[in-house]
């Protein structure tokens, strides 16, 4: 309630008209917005959505790499790297697939070390003295096999060999994960763990930046979601409005068609559509999802129309000779907008979900483009070794779903007071 200034109270002369103070009258939308603002969860959702959109739109501009840039040397590097000091101020890190990299202390990757084919005499280390004094190639080969069995790799740095014994990765009983031997000195303790400067989210199996790819994936996934909801809105509202307004036989036939479409699992129709039109990337998925999910919207709008068209303002419009098209567009649909918007908000996460699902079974956008679903799918084969490659797109999907669900719940409460929880 706005406070009324004391100064405003004064006697009016009889000639003066009485001037009244009104509280600003709120339209339906202003009122809904006011109620939405009160709902904390939905504001969190709204902020989350804005952040995700910014992440997808602005993010790729800021990162130095594009989604398709490959640096083959730096593949499969995680977001956090354990570094080992082999010399004063010289650090190395080891990737999950046992490549060795020179790295700066702050986590900046410098170069990949060349790997040495293990053959011929090796170190002076006691455990591996067998390698020394072996001459014949067949013996060498045999020992080479053994070297693989003892899980040993060798790299070259500044003309010196670095040996890496990674048996500790396989045999959990061993005390140290890695035993690094450089200039006859064994290093077993990692110096520290640093953030990967070049790839904050790690790199994938082709040396592409996962962060950039997740950002780019946001663009694709959100485009699919928004456009599919728009298609769903256009078809669903038109179809539902016509069926509901016309009523009678038209309504009956149109709704039977909806029933039939509804009695087939929607994912199957999408898959069939995608197979039918051929996988032409983004727009196929958008169309497929949009063309299938409108049935729910059509039902909802029809129900609204049936209720609204009996009301007096519609009768008045008919009596005034307003055309059918204008009655639907100007009078009926605006009045049904609340439930329609709620349904659209809820449609977006399910479109993201469906797109991820389609990409996951191989019907998504084609490489090198990637949506969140494709990223998750690609990460699947290496899940045990490179879990971060799945983790980030999965988090992105989950956060988006949560944000839209929160906003949707809030909108439902704000736009339809009848449904408010008691």
């Amino acid at each position: 309630m706005s406070r009324i200034d004391k100064d405003k109270f004064k006697f009016v002369s009889e000639q003066e008209k009485v001037h009244e103070e009104f509280r600003p009258s709120l339209t339906y939308w202003q009122d809904a917005w006011r109620r939405l603002k009160k709902n904390k969860m939905s504001m969190v959702g709204l902020v989350g959505i804005v952040l995700i959109i910014l992440f997808g739109v602005v993010g790729p501009v800021l990162t130095p790499m594009s989604y398709s840039d490959q640096i083959n040397d730096f593949k499969n590097l995680g977001p956090r790297l354990s570094i080992y000091e082999i010399e004063a101020d010289t650090y190395i890190t080891i990737s999950p697939d046992y490549s060795m990299f020179i790295i700066e202390k702050n986590g900046n990757l410098v170069e990949k070390l060349e790997e040495l084919e293990l053959s011929g005499p090796v170190v002076t280390d006691d455990a591996r003295t067998d390698f020394v004094n072996v001459q014949s190639p067949s013996e060498q080969r045999k020992l080479n096999e053994e070297a693989k069995k003892t899980l040993l790799k060798a790299y070259i740095y500044n003309g010196e060999e670095i040996y890496l014994d990674f048996s500790g990765r396989v045999d959990k009983d061993l005390e140290h994960e890695y035993v690094i031997t450089y200039k006859n000195r064994e290093i077993t303790e990692r110096t520290k763990s640093v953030m990967n400067k070049r790839y904050p989210f790690g790199s994938d199996n082709l040396g592409r930046d996962v962060l950039t790819r997740v950002m780019f994936g946001a663009q694709i996934s959100l485009t699919v979601a928004f456009v599919a909801s728009l298609v769903n809105f256009i078809i669903g509202v038109t179809y539902g409005a016509i069926a509901g307004f016309e009523g009678g036989r038209v309504d009956n036939i149109m709704m039977r068609i909806v029933d039939i479409i509804n009695s087939v699992p929607l994912v199957l129709i999408i898959i069939l559509l995608m197979v039918l039109v051929g996988n032409q990337g983004l727009w196929t998925i958008v169309m497929a999802i949009g063309l299938v999910y409108w049935v729910g919207m059509a039902r909802l709008v029809r129900g609204q129309m049936l209720a609204l068209k009996e009301q007096e303002f519609v009768m008045a419009a008919i009596a005034l000779g307003v055309s059918k098209k204008n009655i639907i567009l100007r009078h009926l649909i605006p009045n049904a907008m609340g439930p329609i918007i709620i349904s659209m908000t809820m449609m977006i996460p399910s479109a993201v979900f469906t797109e991820a699902f389609m990409s996951f079974i191989g019907l998504g956008v084609s490489a090198p483009k990637a949506s969140w679903g494709t990223l998750a799918n690609n990460a699947l084969s290496g899940i045990l070794t490179y879990p971060y490659q799945l983790f980030f797109p999965a988090i992105a999907i989950a956060v988006t779903m949560l944000a839209f669900n929160f906003l949707g719940d809030g909108l439902r409460d704000a736009l339809d007071p009848r449904l408010r929880k008691g």
Binding site: I260, S263, V264, P265, V267, L268, I271, L272, V275, L276, G278, P349, F353, A356, F357, F360, I361, G362, L363, A376, N377, A379, L380, I383, L384, P387, L390, A394, I397, A398, M401, L402, N405, G422
Partner: protein
């Protein structure tokens, strides 16, 4: 009553036939035959292939053959897995899918409904918040993420569960959890809101005022009525769980139908795609039909409502 059932059954059969027809013509309108390869197949081989699979017949004859086969449960040979019938593939894969789906449904019913009820009875208490938080998480995390996380944590890091296959009974745990995640959360939320709705009804107050024991009020009056919307959801859900299992089957490398379906899509194996689509659709429709009929038997209001509409 009999008339209502008859109407529903006829409608279901017609829907299945319609879907089969649509699928058939959709598949046949795709440019290029099933044997189109990157390297062109020699004309004569193409002819032989077309002849073998009756693809040189006029479309209408092929359609007639297909529908005739459908009635006798013969879905034709697979185009890419040589020497196997689509029906064989389905009967090889379906038991696995059905078993996992059934277990998932059982998990959903025995966990989802009690959690929903408890949550409603303890509304706005910590237990309610915990359950609702879990349920929201379950709705928002895709099944393939749950599945891979299970593999990563329980098979990879802890080594408690096998990471693929179901030879070991423990192997069921992962797929069932991944498959039931979404619906479990949904059922919990649905039960909770429906229970809250029922608890506000006058007849609950009347029952309490009559001095009936609280537990009897809950069991005989509240829960029974609160479960009506849940039952409606569970029928189609069972069918949907089986269609949604492609991904889970793929991740856990289970020998179910989902694997064949995904494979048939990548191979453009049209007969298999058609066969499995029709099979799934038929299964889905039959499940809905069973639920609708049993529902109409329990609750006579439904019949009249549907009739009046």
């Amino acid at each position: 009553m009999g008339k209502y059932f008859l109407k529903r059954i006829v409608a279901a059969i017609l829907t299945i036939l319609l879907i089969a027809t649509l699928t058939f013509f959709m598949m046949h309108s795709i440019p290029g035959g099933p044997f189109t390869r990157e390297r062109p197949v020699p004309e004569s081989i193409m002819e032989r292939l077309n002849e073998k699979y009756n693809l040189d017949d006029p479309l209408i004859v092929q359609y007639y053959d297909y529908m005739k086969g459908l009635v006798t449960f013969d879905l034709g040979p697979s185009f890419s897995i040589i020497g196997r019938d689509v029906m064989e593939l389905i009967s090889a894969g379906f038991p696995t899918s059905a078993k996992i789906g059934l277990f998932a449904t059982i998990v959903i019913v025995i966990f989802g409904i009690p959690f929903g009820i408890i949550s409603a009875l303890k509304q706005n208490k910590p237990i309610d918040y915990t359950v609702m938080f879990m349920a929201t998480l379950g709705v928002t995390v895709p099944s393939f993420v749950i599945a891979t996380l299970i593999i990563y944590v329980f098979s990879g890091l802890l080594g408690w569960l096998p990471s693929f296959g179901i030879e070991n009974p423990l192997g069921y745990i992962g797929p069932v959890i991944a498959l039931s995640g979404y619906s479990l959360s949904f059922v919990t939320r649905l039960t909770r809101s429906s229970m809250l709705e029922v608890l506000r009804q006058d007849y609950i107050r009347t029952a309490r005022a009559n001095g009936i024991k609280e537990i009897t009020v809950m069991a005989r009056h509240a829960v029974k009525n609160a479960l009506i919307p849940v039952v409606t959801y569970i029928g189609p859900m069972m069918a949907a769980i089986m269609t949604g299992s492609f991904v889970v089957e793929r991740i856990f490398a289970l020998p179910g139908m989902g694997g064949y379906f995904v494979e048939s899509i990548t191979n453009r194996d049209y007969t298999t795609i058609m066969g499995i689509t029709v099979f799934y659709a038929a299964f889905y429709i039959i499940m809905i039909l069973i639920v609708d009929i049993s529902y109409a038997m329990i609750d006579p209001r439904i019949r009249f409502e549907k009739g009046a509409r």
